[in-house]
């Protein structure tokens, strides 16, 4: 059997602020537990050194305003870079699967990055997915977000991408940050049905999540036939998490990962640093490495502690039925959408950055391309925490975009660069040729990555 790869990057010298949940202490006890167990010495495990993502890796996914350096710290480069280390090792078949046990997290970061939202600046999984596509030519990838918070960043990034199946289960958005992730959020007009949300009532336990996994998530994966499965592995569904209200256990997480069998897991949230993380992280590693996890338990856990009072699965059954139908009808829906919006589909979007207190207004225009996912134009304005106002114009050509969308995108970029005074920055994300341009109108200077 092939080994399980592990990058452990606790960023012991990085925090959002000294008492913030996303602080140095977060993976301290996980370090204690993993190292005391001797996990890195096990024949089933191969430890890798963290790596560094490049600015280009980030620009492939994000429009960072005004530039990449303004939105990241070195810790972000290492965290995203570590996911790429695991991705390379999996693709080179050095390991069977791998876990990037890293911080800072990323799943709330969206396409345009004005600041930090939900503890995230840049999206580690999205950066990894686009890297895998460019470097290894992958196309169909499934991301299952198992964090208790809705993975709204990842959802937004792949909203228009029919080749990425994004599934998120999370505590119901009416009761928890970021307040989204409802069943009717299914993707853009050309990618409808490849975004699947599974809102869970508070206090959902192991049995509940496993039921949904067996009857919804696994069948979806089976039908979608992705080339790779990624677990966006938050750990805050745990019963002891201070920021959420669920009833999941370390055993539950281990079972989940055994059933899901992700090729790659990337750590997301989870802030019960002492009571949950050491055990949940160990559980994920053991499940991925095929090590018997029956001896794993939290000190205060007893089986049956979170048994549900009602044995009814009505809510879940209805949810499963709805979402399976949404997924299975996706081609038909997309066809219908093409008829309704033959040239372009436009919509406004408001994004709030809770950590930095930034409000962003967007207007998104999608070209309803008959041959590809269509290029997008995003006009975005926001006032940053240092009072600077930014008006930016972003053009995104998809990875598997058609020649026409690519040419159009390039033309619009050139045109916009020639119109002074309207936008502070103009960006072109040409994923087909893997070239990322940004034009600073004030200085009349272009940067190419």
């Amino acid at each position: 059997m092939k080994q399980t790869g592990l990058v452990f990057f606790p960023a012991f010298d990085w925090a959002i602020s000294p008492t913030h949940p996303e602080r140095e202490e977060r993976l301290l006890y996980t370090r204690d537990q993993l190292f005391e167990e001797g996990v890195m010495d096990l024949p089933q495990i191969r430890e890798y050194k963290s790596g560094l993502a490049t600015h280009k890796d980030i620009a492939r996914v994000h429009f960072c305003v005004p530039d990449v350096d303004a939105q990241i710290t070195e810790a972000h480069l290492v965290s995203a870079g570590s996911a790429l280390v695991i991705a390379d090792a999996v693709m080179n078949k050095e390991i069977g699967n791998g876990f990037a046990l890293v911080r800072p997290p990323g799943h709330h970061a969206m396409t345009v990055a004005h600041g930090n939202r939900g503890f995230c600046n840049i999206n580690n999984e999205a950066i990894m997915v686009e890297y895998l596509r460019k470097r290894y030519g992958l196309r169909r990838i499934a991301i299952v977000d198992t964090d208790v918070h809705h993975g709204d960043g990842t959802q937004e990034i792949f909203w228009h991408d029919p080749d990425i199946l994004f599934i998120s289960f999370h505590q119901d958005g009416r009761t928890l940050y970021p307040g989204s992730g409802f069943t009717d959020e299914l993707g853009g007009p050309l990618a409808h049905g490849t975004t699947i949300n599974i809102p869970l009532p508070p206090n959902t336990n192991d049995a509940g999540i496993h039921y949904l996994l067996d009857h919804l998530v696994l069948p979806l994966l089976e039908e979608f036939q992705p080339e790779l499965v990624v677990n966006s592995a938050g750990q805050d569904n745990h019963y002891s998490d201070p920021l959420a209200n669920m009833a999941f256990s370390a055993q539950g997480y281990a079972v989940l990962n055994q059933k899901l069998a992700p090729d790659i897991a990337v750590l997301e949230g989870g802030y019960s640093v002492e009571t949950a993380l050491p055990y949940v992280n160990l559980g994920i590693i053991m499940a991925m490495a095929g090590i018997d996890y029956s001896n794993l338990r939290e000190p205060d856990y007893s089986p049956g502690r979170f048994a549900r009072k009602s044995s009814s699965n009505d809510y879940f059954d209805q949810l499963i039925k709805t979402q399976l139908a949404n997924f299975r009808n996706r081609e038909e829906t997309v066809k219908k959408n093409r008829g309704r919006f033959p040239d372009e589909y436009a919509y406004p979007q408001h994004i709030y950055y809770d950590t930095d207190g930034i409000s962003e207004e967007q207007l998104v225009r999608l070209r309803m391309c008959p041959d590809c996912a269509g290029y997008r134009i995003i006009r975005s304005s926001a006032r940053h925490s240092g009072w600077e106002n930014y008006e930016v114009f972003c053009i995104a050509v998809p990875t598997y975009g058609c020649p026409r969308c690519q040419a159009e995108g390039q033309r619009i970029y050139q045109e916009m660069c020639g119109k002074p005074g309207i936008f502070d920055h103009i960006y072109l994300q040409d994923r087909v040729d893997d070239i990322y341009r940004s034009f600073n109108s004030g200085r009349q200077a272009e940067t190419v990555l």
């Binding site: 012991f12 001797g38 963290s50 090590i291 001896n295």
Partner: protein, 560 residues
């Protein structure tokens, strides 16, 4: 007068150093059945015509424990383990006679599950019934709280007083239960034999009127007093490569990024100096395939040396793994690696004509001329050494790092020189350095660098302290030492460093190895705020201080 003796697998080397003069050297085949005898013979030869009262220090580096563990001839030893929750117990089922007991401690040192005294007693009775006389007692996280280990010891001592016991928290208190149980197991297994050896050596020295300080070389390149070594016999493993590395450090005064290659008769040991400091194995010494908590230099051993015989095997030119005799130029019956280098580069080693003759005999079978034959042997040897060296660089550069600045700044081995020591270095190393395009140093006394390294190595001591001010305690990684600290978040890093330094000084004093304690340096300082709710309720520190490997102050270099 300082004496160093290094027992190797094939030969035992000795030197006598008086001031800056090497006044005597000795080399003698090792009798693996009687290491004490070999040591005493070499000692007697070194002391011929000298006054024993002038001896100030004797340092021994010996393979006694290494051999016993490698051959699996140690006495049956039991393990009483308290793994608690986590990995399945079969991950820790590494040795026969293992008992898994109830009881567990967590990472903050809290006892999560108590012992079951009757279970402990029953296990102790079974151990006795199986005729086993030694047992290691180890619990997970005993490095944070050794209470369960001590309770088990008390119960076992009470019910089976004749059992010889060792506790994990005493022997190996660093994080890693797996390595702790392995280290404790080997430690208690070898203690009696080692103690016997110490007594015999002491008696022999007394009989010769030597009243000097006697030290034992450890795998970390430092020494410990012979008297103290009976508590930590396992630390004497792999002292041979450590002796060679320290010898190279002593003989090359300028600190550089160097590769040290000790080319012996049948093996070549490669180690690295980074800015003149020997590199440690990141996972500790490996014994019988198991990682341990024994600090050791990072050493790569290749089964390849100056005496490795050259033969034609099924029509192919082969460098054999097992030594049979000396090189032909030194009177051996068949050609070896040294002869091939001697011939090809006209090194004029020993009797070069004999190298030529012995190699020429292989010409017809090999189907090639003398020159091509030698060149092929040289290429085989050099490419193996080069691959091993490059691999070591890569391993060091790719070692995991857990802080942002370590990852961002990366690591690159800026290779400056190769230092060749050992008997066959002269023949092989200059060619290797030429191939790798770096400077080459073959210091004087290279053939006995190992014994010299032992002779001038200073004592080393490493202490790690974990301080948890939220819980109000500190613990040391040795002897299960523990103390109290004021609870709350007021402790500063400086106070934590002081606490570690004070404990190291104290331990050094008790072990009679305090001569260099004032030079102890900090190698690890981690500080974490423990946040509960939104306020700081305590701090956790991990502090490491050490008297690093180095040379004794009496050593002022050697005159060539």
């Amino acid at each position: 007068m300082l004496i160093g003796i290094d027992v190797g697998g094939t030969f035992t080397d000795g030197v006598v150093l008086a001031g800056t003069q090497v006044v005597a050297t000795a080399k003698q085949p090792t009798n693996n059945a009687d290491l004490k005898g070999t040591i005493i013979e070499v000692l007697d030869r070194l002391l011929e015509g000298r006054d024993c009262r002038d001896v100030q220090r004797v340092v021994l580096s010996t393979t006694l424990v290494t051999n016993m563990l490698a051959t699996g001839t140690g006495p049956a030893t039991a393990l009483l383990l308290m793994p608690g929750p986590g990995l399945p117990v079969d991950c820790y089922d590494l040795f026969p006679h293992t008992w898994f007991l109830k009881g567990s401690v967590d990472f903050r040192g809290r006892v999560i599950e108590p012992l079951d005294a009757t279970e402990v007693e029953a296990a102790a009775a079974q151990i006795m019934a199986e005729g086993i006389e030694k047992a290691a007692i180890v619990s997970k996280f005993s490095n944070r709280n050794s209470q369960l280990e001590r309770q088990v010891r008390d119960i076992v001592q009470h019910s089976q007083p004749s059992l010889e016991l060792a506790l994990g928290s005493d022997v190996a208190g660093q994080l890693n239960f797996r390595r702790r149980l392995v280290t404790t197991y080997y430690s208690v297994m070898t203690q009696a034999v080692w103690t016997g050896f110490v007594q015999e050596i002491t008696a022999a020295l007394v009989a010769r009127g030597i009243k000097a300080e006697v030290d034992i070389l450890k795998a970390d390149g430092g020494t410990m007093p012979l008297t103290h070594s009976i508590f930590r016999p396992c630390e004497t493993v792999f002292s041979g490569p450590a002796a060679s590395t320290m010898g190279a450090v002593a003989l090359t005064s300028h600190p550089r990024n160097s590769v040290i290659v000790d080319v012996g008769g049948t093996t070549s040991d490669i180690s690295l100096l980074i800015d003149g400091e020997p590199l440690y194995a990141s996972k500790g010494a490996q014994i019988q395939g198991h990682y341990t908590h024994i600090k050791a230099f990072s050493v790569r051993s290749l089964p390849l040396g100056g005496d490795s015989p050259i033969s034609i095997h099924e029509g192919r030119l082969t460098v054999e793994l097992t030594r049979r005799d000396n090189a032909a130029c030194f009177g051996g019956p068949e050609p070896t690696v040294t002869d091939a280098f001697n011939q090809l580069y006209s090194l004029e080693i020993g009797q070069p004509e004999r190298s030529r003759q012995a190699l020429a005999k292989l010409e017809p079978q090999a189907g090639m001329g003398l020159d091509s034959l030698c060149r092929e042997v040289v290429n085989l040897v050099i490419s193996q050494l080069q691959a091993a060296i490059t691999d070591m660089f890569q391993e060091w550069e790719n070692e995991p790092a857990y802080r942002v600045w370590e990852v961002v700044h990366g690591r690159k081995f800026d290779f400056q020189e190769i230092v060749g020591i050992g008997a066959a270095a002269e023949a092989i190393i200059p060619v290797l350095a030429e191939k790798m395009q770096v400077a080459c140093t073959i210091p004087a006394f290279a053939p006995v660098a190992n014994a010299l390294g032992a002779c001038v190595a200073r004592p080393t001591l490493t202490v790690k302290i974990h301080i948890d001010t939220q819980s109000g305690y500190w613990v040391m990684d040795q002897e299960g030492r523990r103390g109290e600290v004021k609870t709350g978040a007021k402790m500063q890093l400086g106070e934590a460093l002081d606490l570690a330094q004070r404990n190291l000084q104290q331990l050094a004093l008790e072990r009679n190895m305090d001569a260099y304690a004032d030079q102890a340096e900090v190698f690890l300082q981690e500080q974490f705020n423990v946040i509960r709710g939104w306020s700081t309720s305590g701090k956790i520190f991990d502090i490491g201080v050490q008297i690093a490997p180095g040379l004794i102050k009496e050593y002022q270099g050697v005159k060539q």
